[in-house]
C-alpha cells in the first residue's frame, strides 16, 4: 500500500480549490447574461409603463410628449422590412443556391465566398454611406431631382430621380446590408441537406433545377427561413444606415399617407405610392426621442418606443420558431 506524500495531497487540494473558483467564475459569466438581459428589460419597461397606451400606438409622431406616437415609425418599419424581405430573399437564396449547387470549387468561387464573409463584417454605417451615395445622390449625376409620373390607368405613381430619402432607398440599403447574412444562413441550410437526396432525384431523371425546386429547397426551407427572419429582425433594428441616409426624424405620416383600411380600399393606388414616400422607422424614432430636449420624450417616450420595437422583434422570432417547427415535422430521412 503506497501512501501519497503530504505535499502532493496539499497541491491536489489546492488545484481542486482553484478548479472550484474557476468553475464558479465561468458559471457567473454565463448566468450573468441572463441577469443583464433581465435588468435591461426591467429598466426599459419600467420607464415605458405609463406611456404605453392606445394613444401612443395609434398616433403619429409629435413634438409634444403627450401626443407623440409610434404609428408612423411602425408602418415605416413595416414597409422597410417588407420591401427588404421581398428583395433579399430571392437574391440571397439564389446566390446560396449558385454557390452550393452549381459553382465549381475554383478561384472565382473562393473569391465570391471570401467576399461574402467580408461583407458580413462591414460596419452598417458604411452601408448607409453606400446607400446615400448611390440611391440618394446617384453619384451626383443629377443637378437637381427630376420628378416623373407613371400613369397606370387606375392611379399615377410619382417618383423622383435620384430617389431621395424614400422608403425604397432605405429598403435597398437594408437589402444590401442583410444579403450576406441571408446567403450564409441559406448556404448552411443547403449544406445540411443529405447528398443522397440529390443523387436519388437526379438518378430518377430530374434535371438539376427540378431537383433543387422539388427536393432540395423544401428540405432546406426551415433553415433558410430561420436565417431570413434573423436577417430581417436585424434589419428592423438597424438605425445607423437609415440615419446616414438622412431619413427625416419628424415625419408625422404613414408611408403612402394611408389612413387605415377604408382609405386603402378607396385608393388602392396609395399602396404603390408608399415605396416612393418619405418615412421614419421605429429605431429612428427612438433615436430622435433620445436626443430630444423634452425630458418626457427623452426618458419615457423613447422607452415606450423600445418596448414596441422589442415586442415586434419577439413576434417575428416567434413566427420563425413556429414555421421552423411546422416544416420540420414533415421532413423525415
Amino acid at each position: 500500500m503506497t501512501t501519497v506524500p503530504e505535499h502532493y495531497s496539499r497541491r491536489l487540494a489546492h488545484r481542486h480549490r482553484l478548479g472550484t473558483v474557476f468553475e464558479w467564475a465561468c458559471r457567473v459569466a454565463a448566468w450573468g447574461s441572463v441577469l443583464v438581459l433581465a435588468v435591461l428589460l426591467i429598466a426599459v419597461t419600467s420607464r415605458a409603463w405609463h406611456w404605453l397606451d392606445w394613444q401612443f400606438l395609434t398616433s403619429p409622431n409629435d413634438y409634444e410628449a403627450e401626443r407623440a406616437g409610434i404609428l408612423g415609425g411602425f408602418w415605416g418599419s413595416f414597409w422597410l422590412v417588407g420591401l427588404t424581405g421581398l428583395m433579399t430573399v430571392p437574391v440571397g437564396i439564389g446566390a446560396a443556391l449558385y454557390l452550393e449547387e452549381y459553382a465549381k470549387p475554383n478561384w472565382i468561387t473562393r473569391q465570391i465566398q471570401l467576399n461574402i464573409a467580408n461583407l458580413a463584417g462591414v460596419p452598417s454605417v458604411v452601408y448607409g454611406i453606400l446607400g446615400y451615395s448611390v440611391f440618394i445622390r446617384f453619384f451626383g449625376f443629377f443637378d437637381r431631382p427630376q420628378t416623373y409620373e407613371l400613369a397606370l390607368g387606375f392611379t399615377n405613381v410619382r417618383f423622383h430621380l435620384p430617389l431621395g430619402t424614400v422608403v425604397l432607398s432605405g429598403a435597398l440599403t437594408l437589402c444590401l446590408l442583410s444579403l450576406p447574412v441571408v446567403i450564409i444562413a441559406s448556404q448552411e441550410a443547403l449544406r445540411a441537406v443529405p447528398p443522397s437526396l440529390r443523387h436519388a432525384s437526379l438518378a430518377l431523371g430530374a434535371t438539376k433545377w427540378q431537383t433543387i425546386r422539388y427536393q432540395i429547397l423544401p428540405a432546406a426551407l426551415p433553415g433558410i427561413l430561420t436565417g431570413v427572419i434573423l436577417a430581417l429582425s436585424r434589419a428592423l433594428g438597424e438605425t445607423a444606415p437609415l440615419a446616414v441616409l438622412g431619413a427625416a426624424s419628424h415625419v408625422d405620416f404613414v408611408p403612402g399617407r394611408i389612413r387605415g383600411a377604408g382609405d386603402l380600399m378607396a385608393n388602392p393606388g396609395k399602396l404603390l405610392q408608399a415605396p416612393f414616400d418619405g418615412f421614419t422607422a421605429i429605431p429612428l424614432q427612438i433615436y430622435t426621442w433620445v436626443n430630444d430636449n423634452s425630458r418626457d420624450l427623452r426618458d419615457s417616450v423613447s422607452a415606450a418606443g423600445i418596448v414596441v420595437l422589442l415586442v415586434v422583434l419577439i413576434a417575428m422570432n416567434g413566427v420563425a420558431i413556429y414555421l421552423r417547427q411546422r416544416y420540420q415535422q414533415k421532413i423525415r430521412w
Binding site: 491536489l12 488545484r15 481542486h16 482553484l18 478548479g19 474557476f22 468553475e23 465561468c26 458559471r27 459569466a29 454565463a30 448566468w31 450573468g32 447574461s33 441572463v34 435588468v39 435591461l40 429598466a43 426599459v44 420607464r47 437574391v91 439564389g94 446566390a95 443556391l97 449558385y98 454557390l99 452549381y102 465570391i112 464573409a117 467580408n118 461583407l119 463584417g121 462591414v122 460596419p123 452598417s124 454605417v125 458604411v126 454611406i129 453606400l130 448611390v134 453619384f139 451626383g140 444579403l179 446567403i183 434535371t207 433545377w209 433594428g237 438597424e238 438605425t239 445607423a240 446616414v244 438622412g246 429605431p283 427612438i286 433620445v290 426618458d299 422607452a303 420595437l309 422589442l310 422570432n317
Partner: protein, 331 residues
Amino acid sequence: MTSPRDNPPPAAAGPGSLVRQVTWQTIRERLIRWVLFACAGLSVVTTVAIILVLLSEAVFSLPPHKAFFQQVSVREFFTETRWTPDFEGDGQQHYGILPLFAGTMLIVVTSGLVGLPIGLLAAIYLSEYAAPRTRSILKPVLELLAGVPTIVYGYFALKFITPYVLRPVFQDWLGFNVDTFNALSGGIVVGIMIMPMVCSLSEDVLRAVPQSLREAGYALGSTRFDVSVRIVVPSALSGILASFILALSRGIGETMAVAIASGQQAQLTANPLSQIQTMTAFIVNVMKGDVPPGSTLESSIYAVALVLFAITLTLNVISQMILRRYREVYQ
C-alpha cells in the same frame, strides 16, 4: 448471348433519344444557372461599389469636384490632433482623425475588457461544465442578447449604466467626474453586445477539440480545471483568437450605442469617463442633419468611412485566415 433487345438501334436524335439536344428545358436550365450566378455576383458588385464610392469621394475625384485628400493633405489627416470640421473650437477647421481614432480605441479597449473575458468564460462553461439542460436555457438567452438592437443598448447605457452604475461608483464613491455622455458606458454596452458573439464562436472551437485529448488529460490525473485551462483552451487558442478579433472589429464598427451614450465631442483623451466621439458616431452625427453637398464636411465623411472600412476589413481577413488554418488542423 445477346438478344435484339440488348442492342437497340443507334440512337437517332428524336424524342426519347439519349443524345443531348437543345430543348426548352436545357435552355431553361442554363438560364437559371446564369440568373443564380448573377445573384452571387451581386455581392462582388456591392464590394466594388463600396470601395469605388469611398475612394471617389475621399481620394480622387473628377475635375469640377474635389475629393477630400485633394483638399486636405494626408499628412494633416493622420497627424493633426484636432478634429473640428464644422467650425467649432477656435473657428478654424482642422481635419485630424486622431481624436476620432482615440475615441474608437477607448470604446474598443473597454468593450474588449468587458466582453472578451466574460465571453470566453461563458464559452468554457457551456462547453466544459454545463449540463445539456443548462445549455438549452443559456443558449437562447445569449441569442436574445445578441439580437437586441444596438439602439436599445445605447438607451440602456445612457439612462441606466451612467446614472445608476457609473455615477455612484466613480463620482460619489471614488470622486471622479463622470460626464453625462462618457466612453465607459458606451464601452460597457458594446462589451455586452460582443460577449454573445465571442461566446458562441469560442464555444464552437472549444467543442471541436477532440474528446480524446480531454480523456488523455484525465487519464494522467488532471482535474477538470487542468483539462479545461491547460488542454482544451490552448488547443483551441487560434480559434478563440479569431473570435476575439472578429468581436473587436464589430466593436469598432458599432455605431448607435456609442453615438447615444458616449457623446459627440471629438477629443484626444484616454479618460474613459469623459465625452468622446468615435469615427462611426461622427458619421451618423453629421449625416443625420443637412450636409451641404460638395462641401469638405461631406467629403470628410468618406475619408473617415474609408479608414473605418480599411480597419474592419483587415481585422476580418486576419480572423478568417486564422480560422481557416485552424480548421485544417482538426479535420
